[in-house]
Symmetry: C2
Subunit: 338 residues, 2 copies
């Protein structure tokens, strides 16, 4: 193993000088700097992470706590992880992955063993037992998702209330006086994730404003059979010009399919608005009018906040809960106003 002492010997300087060249925390003459950098390159020196963490009290690692419930909506997870890893690397940090079946133990381990400088927690339930534990750690924590009580922790999430509002606005403006919301998967509802309620609240508020009725079909497993049942029920309830909202991202495609199977064409016979990523909305035929759910934006913002919290010099963000505004994009599954 090559150490900074080896570099020092080759460059003809002391070990501390090598350290200062790398950190830039003291001024070094151009000539010395060059000699050191040359030696570093020649020896392909890389600092030892453990030693550095020990001496500097910083690990350059971000802990990422995710839940891998088998069968859960893990499909949407990867873009989050990818974005988080990318942002971390951009700041010369790495990502340590902790699966949440460890529960709070994973959190205390991350902080107690000094495995990381900060923690990102995903998949937050409304009344999440890990929140108080997370709040008591001595490292900054950011939540992706909003619990009922964040205990002073910073949170980032999509503004689901706004998403509900946007979807209902769009349908009501197009003349639908009857709107059916096809709800979330049973396990999401059961786990009491906050966004279910938040979306519904926004949708209800918008419906009130427009004076239209909202009916809820729920819960819906995101598969063929579930979608077919839901569509049957939705069509039975709605009359002419039914407006359908699917805030359950993985169910959007199956619902679309189930409608087509029955000869009901969204954009001709009914309107369909999905809550999903733009990419998946564009991929299907016909392209789905959607309220965007962009994991990358949310993750990016979360990492911004996290690094600001880590930066001792900078001032910290005051707003605890930050909601990312979604965007409605009109595509081929919604009817125009009559």
């Amino acid at each position: 193993m090559v150490t900074s002492r080896d570099v020092a010997r080759v460059a003809g300087v002391s070990q501390s000088t090598v350290s200062y060249v790398m950190s830039g925390r003291r001024s070094i003459s151009a000539e010395t700097r060059k000699r050191v950098l040359d030696a570093i390159e020649q020896l392909t020196y890389q600092p030892n992470a453990g030693a550095r963490a020990l001496a500097s009290q910083r690990t350059q690692v971000i802990g990422l706590v995710v839940r891998f419930r088998p069968g859960a909506d893990t499909t949407g997870l990867l873009p989050f992880i990818e974005t988080i890893a990318g942002c971390a690397r951009a700041e010369d940090h790495d990502v340590l992955l902790v699966t949440a079946d460890e529960g709070s133990a994973g959190l205390t381990r991350l902080a107690g063993r000094t495995l990381c400088d900060a923690i990102v927690m995903m998949d937050i339930e409304a009344d999440d037992a890990r929140i108080p534990v997370a709040a008591s750690l001595r490292v900054p924590v950011i939540l992706i998702g909003v619990p009922d009580d964040s205990a002073g922790l910073h949170c980032v999430d999509v503004d689901f209330a706004e998403a509900g509002r946007l979807a209902v606005d769009e349908l009501a403006s197009a003349g639908h006086d009857r709107i059916v919301v096809i709800g979330h998967a049973p396990d999401v509802v059961e786990r009491d994730i906050n966004f279910v309620r938040r979306f519904q609240r926004g949708a209800d508020a918008a419906a009130d404003e427009h004076g239209v009725a909202i009916e809820l079909v729920s819960p819906v497993p995101p598969n063929r059979a579930g979608a077919e049942d839901a569509v049957r029920e939705a069509l039975a309830r709605g009359g002419e010009r039914t407006g359908i909202v699917v805030p359950n991202s993985p169910a959007v495609q199956p619902v679309l399919q189930a409608l087509l199977d029955r000869g009901v064409v969204p954009g001709r016979d009914v309107s369909l608005v999905g809550l999903c990523t733009d990419a998946s909305a564009e991929a299907s035929t016909p392209a789905v009018t959607n309220v965007s759910l962009e994991p990358r934006d949310v993750s990016r913002r979360a990492m911004e906040i996290l690094f600001r919290l880590l930066d001792r010099s900078g001032e910290r963000p005051t707003e605890l809960v930050e909601l990312i505004r979604p965007r409605l994009t009109r595509r081929d599954t919604t009817l125009p106003a009559p």
Copy 2:
């Protein structure tokens, strides 16, 4: 921060005794051990990871290198990651995630900075530029996937040749004399992943044995439109009792759907064998006869080998390439023998 010295003070012993209690590398009297353990609990002591790594030359971290190409077949990735994380935790290790867009640099960083004790690499291409770099590291590396030249590294993968054989065997035995293979997604083919060829080789061999013809429809993007095109072509080529093989896991459902859309019912009109996980094969209606592709088995085996490589005392596995045997499960999409 609580240190082992604090524990020692509370327990009335020396710091080294605390260390020996934790590691068990020297015998400690029952009474002393209890005092130390009590002190540890009372102070909720956890060892500092950096200091431990520095002193012991072991990080207790496994590096996981995965590719997050946007749009790639990342769906199947999570079970791998989850299993790897679980196996690591079972041996008191953590997982450091490195996304492969860093290329070889990620590997040299993991090893050079002593960030981890061993590395798992996924998504291996036939002629993968990272292989020689990985082989030159001073930490054990295991590949999930088989390159053309593994440069002495251990590999684990599904036995795709056997999978091809099993699928064709099944169809030929059921009396199909014309078998259509609906191939992989364009990006997989383009990236030259080994298993495409391996599967085909096995399928061809079995077809030869049985004296049946094989036709290839390829490449097929795993979506509605791609599946429809592929099915149209497959049905045009095959005659009565067409046997269809879909070795492209994410395309299995769309292909099934496309068949049903045309009124062609697998299990009644044609036979369909998919290469996919048992879970997804069972989830659809009708349930798909499949050759199992179990990421969990592969990952588990990979981690077994990795920990054996890490265990200095134990002997190392001699076989470099280890192929996990797939299993065919007959379900509702295949015709019985006439």
